[in-house]
């Protein structure tokens, strides 16, 4: 009985391998990838309000992705790929700013104005991304790709604190509220983050072994992390990330 079951499984396995080989002949390629995102949400260029970046930590942002590529033409050098990617994008920064427009929480109320001093930011978002790329395969080991992507933000956080400085209420000539001796205040713009993002992506894959590959993709958003009507932070911040990881090709 057990032997019978075993032979059924073996035949089924053979059938499955067969169907993958056949679709491979037709030019279909299936991959799953896992990696990390390193980068940040950055204004381009750095605005003059930022005087010094004290520290920057890209954080550990995980990425998992499933990709399907259809190779075209006789040579099967060019292809189109798409897939689904679940990724995190985040960063932690500590900067010194001057006359930086922001809104802080002070004793339960929001106070808007110009901050000069230290700003710490903690940003993270989890996205569901759909990339659409054109692929070019050099040989059995190397392929490159370029294209666009759209992302849907499932959840996210943009918050931090200000300390060691002062806030001018409203305008640079407003009342000066000093924050010294370790006193700090927080801000939270999480509810002002955009839901959808889109941008460009370029990347490459090195097929190390038959099934195992190493990937690098550089993604660059064209949209601000914040909603259009959010004016408190006066400059746009674009998520720019490098996705490094491993992949498995079926």
């Amino acid at each position: 009985m057990a032997l019978g079951m075993w032979s059924v499984v073996a035949v089924a396995q053979q059938d499955r391998n067969q169907s993958i080989r056949e679709s491979e002949k037709k030019g279909w390629e299936y991959e799953v990838k896992a990696g990390v995102n390193i980068g940040g949400a950055s204004p381009i260029p750095l605005p003059e309000e930022i005087r010094k970046v004290n520290s920057f930590s890209p954080k550990f942002n995980g990425v998992v992705e499933g990709t399907v590529t259809k190779w075209l033409g006789r040579e099967k050098n060019w292809g189109v790929s798409t897939g689904l990617r679940i990724e995190e994008k985040g960063m932690k920064t500590d900067a010194r700013v001057k006359n930086y427009s922001t809104e802080i929480l002070n004793d339960g109320n929001k106070v808007a104005g110009r901050w000069t001093g230290r700003v710490e930011t903690d940003y993270n978002s989890t996205f569901l991304t759909l990339p659409v790329m054109a692929n070019y395969r050099f040989n059995g080991s190397w392929k490159v790709r370029a294209g666009m992507y759209v992302s849907y933000r499932m959840d996210g956080d943009f918050s931090g604190s200000v300390s060691d400085g002062y806030l001018r209420e409203g305008t640079p000539t407003g009342e000066k509220v000093e924050f010294t001796d370790g006193k700090s205040s927080t801000y939270d713009f999480s509810s002002d983050l955009r839901r959808f993002q889109y941008g460009a992506q370029i990347g490459g894959t090195w097929q190390a072994f038959r099934h195992f590959s190493i990937n690098a993709d550089f993604t660059w958003a064209f949209s601000n992390v914040f909603k259009k009507d959010f004016q408190t932070v006066t400059f746009n911040m674009y998520p720019i990330y490098l996705n490094l990881g491993f992949g498995y090709k079926f």
């Binding site: 970046v53 890209p58 004793d107 109320n109 110009r114 305008t171 640079p172 509220v177 000093e178």
Partner: protein
């Protein structure tokens, strides 16, 4: 391992790119008067600079018609009329400071004050602290909170200070009557002052500052976030020897006495405080504040109202100025304005340390200061 070093390298590159891309520092946007001075031996103490005012303190007999104060500004800013311009200061003069980047202007009222605090306080006169919306300069300035003022012996106006400016930052939409200090009807005679200990909400409680006592005092209020008790700077120059203080009050303590951790103290009941202090102004001690007004060694005389309790009807209170630790007032220093007098009223006596009951209400009216 290869992946980790790759990641570290990229992270480093990113940080290096961000650091090297720092733009040149922008021109200053602030337009502050940072320091001020006037030549001659006019000043009897350090001038006071707030966000929109500069006050010089001089003796009552000085000629104010031809003075040329000089100002130190935020780097790169300019002032109009120029620093050092001779002007007539028998009434306050305005100056406009323009920031280095040319985009921001601030108007300062500069005055030379030679008067003493008024001695009969009826609390009939109030003006509003007005807030002009910079995004809509054509709109009516918003009236935020009450400021009591009285006439001094010399005939000029003197304003009472309160913690209202601090309350305004966190409760900017509150009507004037919701502030800790406001004017009320049904005074002992005419209108009166109403001081109420207010709650600062859930975040105030989180920051260990769960309440804001209603207070009224002679002096300046300058917000010090690091130590709130230092925000109340008590006293103004007084050139007579104070003898006593009296007036009328009504008081009801709030239900729940809490400490700064918002913990209820069931055995304690809130009580108000009314006192007056005469202290010596020295180079190191230009003023006393909420942390040391009753205890500093510069305090020469103090009048403390005792037997404080609740009263539903208008009740008379009084206090005599007594010498503290046998110290005396030097007549020459007194004549030159070397002493400050502070009268302080609060709806919660432990308010500076955030001990009190929300809702404690003190009404005061018809306060008299006796001197010789």
């Amino acid at each position: 391992m290869k992946g980790i070093t790759k990641a570290a390298f990229v992270g480093l590159c990113f940080a290096a790119w961000m650091t090297s891309c720092i733009k040149d520092e922008a021109a200053n946007a602030e337009a502050d008067i940072v320091a001020c001075a006037v030549s001659g031996n006019l000043l009897i103490r350090e001038p006071v600079i707030t966000n929109t005012e500069v006050k010089f303190y001089v003796n009552g007999w000085e000629d104010l018609t031809n003075l040329a104060p000089t100002f130190t500004l935020t780097e790169g800013a300019t002032i109009e009329p120029a620093s050092g311009t001779k002007r007539d200061f028998t009434s306050p003069q305005t100056y406009t400071v323009t920031s280095q980047d040319g985009q921001w202007k601030k108007t300062y009222k500069v005055s030379f004050i030679s008067g003493s605090p008024a001695t009969e306080y009826h609390f009939e006169n109030i003006k509003y602290y007005e807030y002009t919306d910079i995004w809509d300069p054509t709109a009516e300035p918003q009236k935020k909170f009450h400021i009591f003022y009285d006439r001094t012996i010399e005939g000029t106006d003197m304003e009472w200070s309160s913690g209202n400016a601090g309350f305004m930052i966190t409760n900017s939409t509150a009507p004037a009557t919701d502030y800790p200090t406001s004017q009320a009807e049904n005074g002992y005679k005419g209108k009166c002052a109403k001081l109420v200990t207010r709650s600062t909400g859930s975040l105030g409680a989180m920051m260990k500052a769960p309440l804001a006592a209603g207070n009224l005092f002679i002096g300046e209020f300058k917000i010090n976030i690091g130590n709130m008790a230092k925000s109340t700077r008590f006293g103004m120059p007084f050139r007579m020897t104070p003898l006593g203080l009296d007036g009328y009050f009504r008081y009801k303590a709030g239900e729940k006495y809490i400490n700064k951790n918002s913990e209820e103290q069931t055995n304690k009941k809130d009580v108000f405080d009314i006192y007056a202090v005469m202290y010596e102004v020295t180079k190191d001690v230009p003023y006393l504040d909420g942390t040391n007004i009753k205890t500093h060694e510069n305090v020469v005389m103090m009048a403390q109202v005792e037997n404080r309790k609740e009263a539903g009807e208008w009740t008379r209170f009084s206090a005599e100025f007594k010498s503290v630790k046998g110290r005396t007032i030097d007549a020459k220093k007194l004549r030159n304005g070397g002493y400050n007098l502070a009268i302080v009223l609060s709806s919660s006596e432990g308010g500076a340390d955030f001990n009190g009951a929300v809702g404690s209400t003190l009404y005061v009216d018809e306060i008299n200061l006796y001197y010789k």
